[in-house]
Symmetry: C2
Subunit: 398 residues, 2 copies
DNA sequence: AGAAATAAGTCCATCCGATAGACTAAATAT
DNA sequence: ATATTTAGTCTATCGGATGGACTTATTTCT
């Protein structure tokens, strides 16, 4: 269906085949050249050629001779090199800053998580703190023999023409990408910025609850509610990159007004503040973390207000998800953040509603899973973005 | 991001470049080889080579020497050949059968529309009638010097493992693709079957209201309500091809039960039957066509029931569309079928609601347009599907 | 009108990268 | 030890894009 916009010449062909071989190595490692020839449909000769390029790029290395006792000459097994290429993932959230470095094999080589209240802090101050964190982590990764090939940052906001609106941070039209490029170490050139829900969805896809799924909806619930939509192993971003604003789907036509301008938005019944308030937990001075823990305690105790709050949230989520499932046809739904914590109470009623609503239309009802990476989904996804680019275009690291 | 699953070799490269050149000819015709070289980034030599292949495939021909008074030697302008390659589009609907033949330039070379009530008719009978229609149209196209390169069929149903469930036709698990392949003329080998809303969305995309849009939601409203989702010029089908079931989005949590198993589905307030019933128009013997005309008459007259009915439908559609727009981020919404007819009454309130709901989050509120092709969207889209395949892979026509 | 300039299109030698198949290497089976 | 089997390398070849020289058709300058 899609025709490439650019011409294809011999080098393009080589790039595509390099990526193809590298991808198969990643998927089947350790793997011999002979097997790669079968997997890719390329000749043994060509595979040997491509592999030798990948070796000089230091993306691939021969792993120990893992034999499995066949007949003829044993093959030389190849695997992704655990260095020097690495991806750096960063995250800014209302309540913390986080960073992690992944090597090509997807292993976490560095991680750091700093609790700090970023809500309402000056954007420049937050960016500087993030840059400092990035420098620390990058330095430690360097000591470990790793070179960061790129950086991606997860932000809880919507991107409009290169500027970020992040209500939960108090950011309005902040040129985050530019500020970060400025503040980050030079080797992190070409910083990418993306929505937290999108990157968390990718994190779960590559390293967490979505690994088997191939196509799903990741629900990112904190103060705001967003969704990352994965279809056929790729993120669905919509026309302007603003897809997935599940928090403002209407779930209660007669309900309360929302700051977004609408009425009865999901966020108003299933967002963090709404749930805590309805659960009878005061704003107070405490962190939302400890207030959430308190809510969970009351739920365990059987407190009536807490249960009414979570039932309302469950009903809202069910309505929104029935709609999303009907529109998007995913095969799994992953609950993250707040809703992963509340999974034990939320999942059964939502599952029932999704099965009922439109259930007769569909061959299979999507499964509902809690996030597997908890607060790390977004940083892992961010770092993975860099790795996935390297895998898709090995020559890009020059 | 995406790595091709298949190896790339010299011939693959050629195929891609052929498609690239052909696509540019389609987009910029009439166009000279020199200009194509600029547009594609391929050398003059290569372009000349590729064009000569396209000429022997009879996909491209030199159009009259349209000069624009430049200096040097004038170029030989190339255009898509208006034959012999053509695509055949078919449609089965509750109330009619339709067919059309498009040549490569997208011109309608044959069309036929047969009013017939297919609801509850035996599927085999309907398929045979469709095949007869296809044969007639194909024969006439043949007299006109056209060869049908493929056939696509639009059905108002959901596809589950190759079988169609089409409640509005009374079809359950009908192996439509197989039956059609059997019944249709041999040259139509490899018949494709797709959802009516999807093909109508493509029809509007290529030849109708979506031509400028690039990314939109097409609302296909008759007895059932479906949506075709176009993003970046491509159809979004979801994990199992069942995306776009907008009719079963929940818009009235306390509302009526729907045969799908859910409660308060959009179809129950904005589907054809629901609107007619609420508008006080009896079932009777008349066709839904004439009943709809009657509703429009009463709306013009200012009848209270009719207005209440359409207001309820508008509210439901607004809720569903606010959700869909938030999730999918299209830049346009196109109303088709029933809702195109009722556009004058529906569009203003929906537009207001979509602007309110989530309006502050988005840079631009999507435009709302009525369908430009009316009942022809789906057949045109179906035929266009064939043409788009030829354009994307010129060698496929051998 | 003739010459110079300009642009389009063709021809040819070359280069890049994949291929097929012969050849070498390293293991097991007899 | 020898035959067999499988892995990996080497070499000639082929398909297809390239760059630059060449031819052709038209406008502009003199």
């Amino acid at each position: 269906m899609t025709v490439p916009a650019r011409p294809t010449h011999a080098e393009t062909m080589r790039g595509l085949n390099l990526a193809l071989v590298l991808e198969q190595i990643a998927r089947h490692q350790p793997v011999t050249r002979a097997r790669l020839s079968d997997l890719t449909g390329l000749t043994k000769t060509t595979v040997a050629n491509l592999v030798s390029s990948l070796e000089t790029l230091r993306l691939v290395a021969s792993a120990g001779p893992v034999r499995e006792g066949g007949r003829g000459r044993p093959g030389a097994p190849l695997s992704l090199a655990p260095g020097p290429v690495a991806g750096l993932g960063l995250e800014v959230n209302g309540h913390y800053l986080a960073a992690c470095v992944l090597d090509l094999t997807g292993a976490v080589r560095q991680r750091e998580h700093v609790r700090v209240d970023n809500r309402g802090r000056d954007a420049q101050v937050t960016v500087d703190a993030l840059a400092a964190l990035a420098r620390r982590v990058t330095a430690r990764a360097g000591d470990d023999g790793l070179t960061v090939a790129g950086t991606a940052v997860a932000l809880p906001g919507v991107f409009v023409e290169g500027r970020v609106n992040a209500p939960n941070l108090g950011w309005e039209a902040v040129p985050a990408a530019a500020m970060l490029t400025e503040a980050l170490p030079a080797q992190a050139h070409g910083v990418e910025v993306d929505n937290e829900a999108n990157l968390a969805a990718l994190g779960e896809l590559w390293y967490g609850a979505g690994r088997g799924a191939g196509s799903y909806l990741y629900l990112s619930g904190e103060t705001g509610i967003g969704a990352g939509i994965v279809v056929g192993g790729e993120l669905f971003r919509g026309a302007h990159g603003a897809a997935g604003e599940l928090g403002h789907v209407v779930v209660d036509p007669g309900g309360a007004a929302c700051p977004c301008g609408g009425v009865g938005c999901l966020e108003q019944v299933a967002g963090l503040d709404a749930v805590l308030r309805a659960g009878g937990i005061d704003d107070g001075e405490e962190s939302s973390e400890s207030r959430l823990t308190e809510l969970v305690r009351r739920l365990d105790e059987g407190d009536g207000n807490a249960h009414r709050a979570i039932n309302a949230a469950g009903r809202g989520l069910a309505i929104a998800l029935v709609g999303a499932v009907n529109l998007l046809d995913p095969d799994t739904v992953v609950l993250g953040g707040l809703h992963a914590r509340l999974g034990p109470w939320l999942i059964p009623p939502i599952e029932a509603a999704v099965t009922r609503g439109g259930g007769r239309l569909r061959a299979r009802v999507p499964a509902l899973l809690p996030s597997a990476l908890a607060e790390e989904s977004a940083v892992r996804g961010a770092a993975g973005t860099i790795l996935s680019r390297v895998l898709a275009d090995p020559l890009s690291i020059g």
